[in-house]
């Protein structure tokens, strides 16, 4: 099967001259879950924003199902690094938002408000927010807010789900619980998933394949396959496959970090010599 979502050697340089990504290539097959792991500031969010069509790479191309991506599309559901809920809307109104925007209403089954209400209720149950339908975002904890945002990303049943360190701001225990929940939700949603994170265990737990990135500017430093069956559970942490994937990813990450450090030190030395 050929790749469904492709970042073809994309480079992104911001207006202030910061080079966030350099010739980054990523190929995601339909139905696959790929995790991109890299240190903070290596351009992970930038990569997802490019995949979502929010920014156009300065070089290279993002392709979705063979078509170049130049602007955001309904094919993609995005979960940002922060919940990004609208404070003046209740949880259920926040989740329903995508259907009010960009002609999404026309994608509803004809004239069916009850369908939408059912869909939102189902999603609220799925992400474990029952009882908080009418709550405003300020009444939610960070984890609950992020779950509401996940429900919103799923509501239009987009074929692609992009996840930007969704649980990065949460405590370790909550994070593990939500990661496991996310795996279940993702399986049920039959979407293609791309997750960026700096947590290796999280990447191994969720992904079929892990792409390791170098520090900024982000470049692919290596790929790790995760041959674990689904559904996944944290008990698998002790399985040799889990441990091996963790170790490979970690050594790739470390190698990438050291390589850049040496390169920079070298440049420093030459600069001083000159």
């Amino acid at each position: 099967m050929s790749a469904y979502l492709i970042a073809d050697a994309i480079s992104v340089t911001y207006a202030n001259g910061v080079e966030a990504l350099r010739r980054f290539t990523l190929e995601v097959k339909r139905g696959e879950f790929v995790a991109v792991v890299g240190p903070s500031g290596c351009g992970k969010s930038t990569l997802l924003r490019a995949l979502a069509g929010l920014i156009v790479p300065s070089a290279g191309q993002v392709r979705l199902d063979g078509h170049p991506v130049t602007q955001p599309s309904h094919q993609v559901g995005m979960l940002f690094q922060e919940p990004a809920l609208l404070p003046w809307r209740t949880v259920e109104k926040n989740i329903g938002l995508p259907f009010e925007l960009g002609n999404n209403a026309s994608r509803l089954p004809p004239g069916d408000a009850t369908w939408l209400r059912r869909r939102i209720a189902d999603l609220i149950q799925l992400v474990g927010l029952s009882g908080f339908e009418r709550a405003y975002p300020r009444e939610l904890s960070g984890g609950m807010a992020q779950r509401a945002a996940l429900a919103r990303a799923l509501v239009t049943e987009p074929p692609i789900l992009l996840l930007d360190e969704p649980f990065g701001a949460l405590d370790a225990l909550t994070r593990e619980t939500l990661t496991a929940a996310l795996e279940g939700i993702w399986r049920a949603s039959h979407t293609t998933g791309v997750l960026v994170t700096h947590s290796i265990p999280e990447a191994v737990f969720l992904a079929d394949r892990i792409v390791v990135s170098t520090p900024r500017p982000g470049q692919v430093s290596g790929v790790v396959e995760v041959p674990l069956p689904r559904p996944r559970a944290w008990e698998m942490e002790r399985l040799p496959e889990f441990v091996e994937a963790m170790q490979t990813a970690r050594s790739l990450l470390r190698a990438a970090c050291c390589a850049t450090t040496t390169a920079e030190t070298g440049r420093d030395v030459t600069a001083r010599a000159a």
Partner: protein, 277 residues
């Protein structure tokens, strides 16, 4: 912590356990009392001081609170006060509305576009430097003695605080929320209605609240310069006749009206942005 505040804390604790005070963190008893009765008590203090001061001066310099209150009621029941208040409101409210509309029409592009900001902001700031009491006569020359000049002056006076708040409100929208709307393919109109308007609403209403009281000042200033009705006219008339009572009645009516407009906007604010609390 001092012994006194500790003692009063103990007392308020005892009170709470007896069920008299349900609220947490309300603090010691004197503070609860001050919160509830404070404004009224301060007002009484002010009236008392006024009364004492009035004993030392003849009534045409400083009439006491009792005669002013009596005169206030007399003017109220004769209908004169309501007539003049209505006249002033009929200038202040349209002025407020027009000023707010102009603030939005100019403020929105300024908040959104750097070019508009660069082109328009200097003039808006400069307009604040004009003492509006100085342009009032100009407006009377241009628009005549009718309501138009007064409405126009009110609009000018309220424009700046409202515009500043609208601009700050729209600029305070997080880039993340803009990205969210873009990622969901929102049109400009949808972004405006579902993101920018509600996000800028709290600050815009703060501006409107400030503008509301200013609009009364604008209307009365304009009325001072030539008209035959309105609270400004009433005050001016009292001044001409050395009827100091009437001047104070006019000022009191102005303050009460301003408080009412302020309160109305405040209520609207609480109703519209209740999700904050």
């Amino acid at each position: 912590m001092s012994a006194i505040s500790q003692a009063s804390k103990l007392r308020s604790g005892a009170q709470a356990s007896s069920g008299a005070q349900g609220k947490h963190n309300a603090g010691p008893r004197w503070r609860i009392w001050a919160m509830r009765m404070g404004p009224a008590a301060l007002f009484m203090l002010f009236v008392a001081a006024w009364h004492l001061a009035s004993l030392r001066y003849p009534p045409f310099i400083l009439p006491g609170p009792a005669p002013v209150a009596g005169r206030f009621l007399a003017e109220l029941f004769s209908g004169a006060l309501l007539y003049h208040t209505g006249a002033t409101l009929s200038e202040a409210l349209p002025g407020l509305l027009i000023g707010a509309l102009a603030a939005f029409l100019l403020g929105y592009p300024i908040a959104k576009s750097r070019l508009a900001d660069r082109l328009l902001s200097p003039f808006i700031v400069a307009s604040q430097g004009i003492p509006f009491i100085a342009i009032a006569p100009l407006l009377l020359i241009w628009f005549g003695p009718g309501a138009a000049a007064k409405i126009f002056l009110c609009a000018i006076v309220v424009f700046f605080p409202i515009a500043v708040n609208i601009i700050a409100g729209i600029r305070s929208i997080k880039p993340l929320l803009r990205d969210l709307f873009r990622s969901m393919s929102a049109t400009h109109w949808e972004t405006f209605v579902k993101l920018e308007l509600p996000a800028a609403l709290p600050m815009s209403l703060t501006g409107l609240r400030i503008g509301a009281t200013l609009s009364m000042i604008g209307a009365i200033t304009a009325e001072f310069l030539g008209t035959d009705r309105g609270l400004g006219f009433l005050i001016n008339q009292g001044r001409g006749l050395y009827d100091t009572e009437l001047v104070l009645v006019g000022i009191t009516a102005t303050v009460i009206t301003a408080l009412c407009i302020y309160g109305t906007v405040r209520l609207a604010e609480q109703w519209l942005t209740g999700y904050h609390r």
